[in-house]
């Protein structure tokens, strides 16, 4: 499992796309922190305090995390099925280890990226919030789980990319819309997006942690489907 995870982790760091995403992530985080510093006093007055430095990163994640994760991991499983390299893996290790290894590798990649992004803010904020980091990682892990699931269910990488992009655009829109509408359908969809829980987090600080259940569910479903799949 950790062999698969390490390979996934390493390959994510060596791709051009991930390089671009890391650059955007770090650039926006540092840029936002610099911007916040210029308006430090009014933001302090609004009660945002040190959190304002993290807001840039969180805002970026809320809007672009689905797209970032999808663009890097839409083919995390089905690429190997499409090229049939999966046959080498599946004859050497268990299918559960392949799926879990893929998730762990991708999860570690994002955990490292987000940790580094938050570390880059320290010179501006003079503080490091472990809770913000955990919440950011949980938020991204929702999408890692979702892309893993899509990539397991959909055998063609081109199709999972197409569907992934649509979901990446639709989820933030529906998720954020659901928090301010009375439309039952949109509200219902809101419950299955992380946005509902992260918005509630302002009043109920533990809500964001419920989101952990979603990647767990996505992994369980992926394992179930992948175990039955012909490779």
């Amino acid at each position: 499992m950790f062999t698969v995870a390490f390979r996934e982790f390493k390959s994510l760091f060596t791709s051009i796309r991930s390089g671009l995403i890391i650059a955007v992530l770090f650039g926006v985080t540092v840029g936002a922190a610099r911007l916040v510093r210029q308006f430090e006093a009014p933001l302090q007055d609004l009660g945002l305090g040190q959190d304002a430095y993290v807001m840039g990163l969180m805002l970026l994640l809320i809007l672009a995390a689905p797209l970032f994760v999808t663009s890097l991991s839409h083919n995390i499983v089905n690429k190997e099925m499409d090229t049939r390299t999966i046959r080498f893996l599946a004859t050497k290790t268990s299918r559960n280890h392949i799926i879990l290894g893929k998730f762990i590798g991708s999860f570690l990649f994002w955990a490292v990226c987000l940790t580094v992004a938050l570390l880059l803010i320290i010179p501006f904020s003079k503080s490091f919030s472990i809770l913000n980091l955990i919440q950011a990682i949980i938020f991204v892990s929702y999408f890692i789980g979702l892309t893993l699931f899509l990539s397991t269910v959909i055998p063609k990488p081109s199709l999972s990319m197409f569907l992934g992009i649509i979901i990446s655009v639709a989820l933030p829109v529906l998720g954020l819309w659901s928090t301010g509408t009375d439309n039952l359908f949109v509200k219902a969809i809101g419950y299955i997006t992380p946005y509902f829980y992260y918005i509630q987090e302002e009043t109920h600080s533990y809500y964001a942690y419920f989101v952990v259940l979603f990647p767990v569910l996505f992994i369980v479903l992926s394992l179930f489907i992948f175990r039955k799949r012909d490779l």
Partner: protein, 303 residues
């Protein structure tokens, strides 16, 4: 113990039956050849017993373990799938290093290079696979299947697309691996290859096993007539006629010529009698050859 046993193993895709109720028993320590035309179901069969695809019905045991415990014995199985692609960004060495870690081996760099040398990739150890030819990828496929010294090895078309010299090396390697006690299931289009390498053979057609046995058993089963070629001293016309008449009751067909004769008999029990007739008539026999059907003839007989 049987290395592989299948019981009514079947795979269907919709209404199409790709593998149809196959009962196969492969004894440990044999090189088992699996023959059949394209689409006969050989690869599907191998993919099922290696856990890559799920059977529609039936069951199988690999090295004494049932299908549901297959993952627990992956370390003891080597597989060369029918279609091998690799990670373009990795070298042959990195591939084997990755694969050996997956089966929890801890081979040294020298051990990995030794395996690559065995398959003839010693000059391309550190070359990225995207620069490999089809034949080189096939060799790497064989290398990854033997890196962990499996007890049971599945080789699906191991020599297709490989140059003639490499084929000979692969044959030698297969024999060497088998000599160490590894059971090998080999599929091939190349009848000569199967005949040369395999202890036992099964011929598959339209998803079913049509026949199975050793080459000797198959020959006996599918040999309708036995052709005996005899090279002898020069015979006079009178001797030729006499010889011709002495065989009429025994042989299916006889063709006597001055220095050689071809006699076709229905059963191999008649071969000593044919020889005795020559001795009785004081005809010196220089060479007596019994023509046995090749695997190709047996294969064609099953069409």
């Amino acid at each position: 113990m049987e290395a592989l046993q299948t019981h009514q193993l079947t795979k269907t895709y919709g209404k199409k039956i790709v593998v149809d109720s196959v009962d196969l028993h492969i004894p440990e320590g044999t090189i088992f050849g699996f023959l059949g035309k394209n689409g006969a179901g050989k690869s599907t069969f191998i993919n099922m017993v290696t856990g890559l695809i799920k059977p529609s019905s039936g069951s199988f045991e690999v090295l004494g373990q049932p299908e549901k415990r297959l993952e627990s014995i992956q370390k003891e199985i080597g597989v060369l799938p029918d279609y091998s692609t690799f990670y373009d960004d990795l070298t042959a060495y990195h591939h084997l290093n990755y694969f050996q870690k997956l089966v929890k081996q801890s081979l040294s760099k020298q051990d990995i290079i030794h395996v690559l040398t065995q398959v003839g990739l010693e000059d391309a150890v550190h070359v990225k696979v995207k620069k490999y030819s089809f034949g080189m990828k096939k060799k790497l496929g064989i290398a990854q299947s033997i890196i962990h010294q499996p007890k049971l090895l599945f080789l699906d078309e191991p020599t297709s697309g490989v140059d003639a010299n490499a084929v000979l090396n692969i044959h030698a390697l297969i024999k060497e691996i088998a000599a160490q006690g590894t059971t090998i299931l080999l599929t091939s289009h190349n009848l000569n290859e199967v005949e040369k390498l395999c202890d036992e053979i099964a011929i598959m057609n339209k998803g079913s096993i049509q026949t199975q046995g050793t080459m000797k058993q198959l020959r006996e089963q599918y040999q309708q007539d036995i052709v005996i070629h005899i090279h002898h001293r020069s015979l006079s016309e009178k001797e030729q006629v006499h010889l011709q008449t002495s065989f009429t009751e025994l042989v299916e067909k006889i063709q006597i010529e001055e220095t050689s004769s071809e006699i076709i008999v229905a059963s191999k029990e008649y071969i000593p009698h044919v020889n005795k007739q020559f001795v009785r008539q004081d005809i010196d026999v220089f060479r007596l050859e019994v023509e046995e059907p090749s695997l190709e003839e047996i294969f064609l007989n099953l069409e």
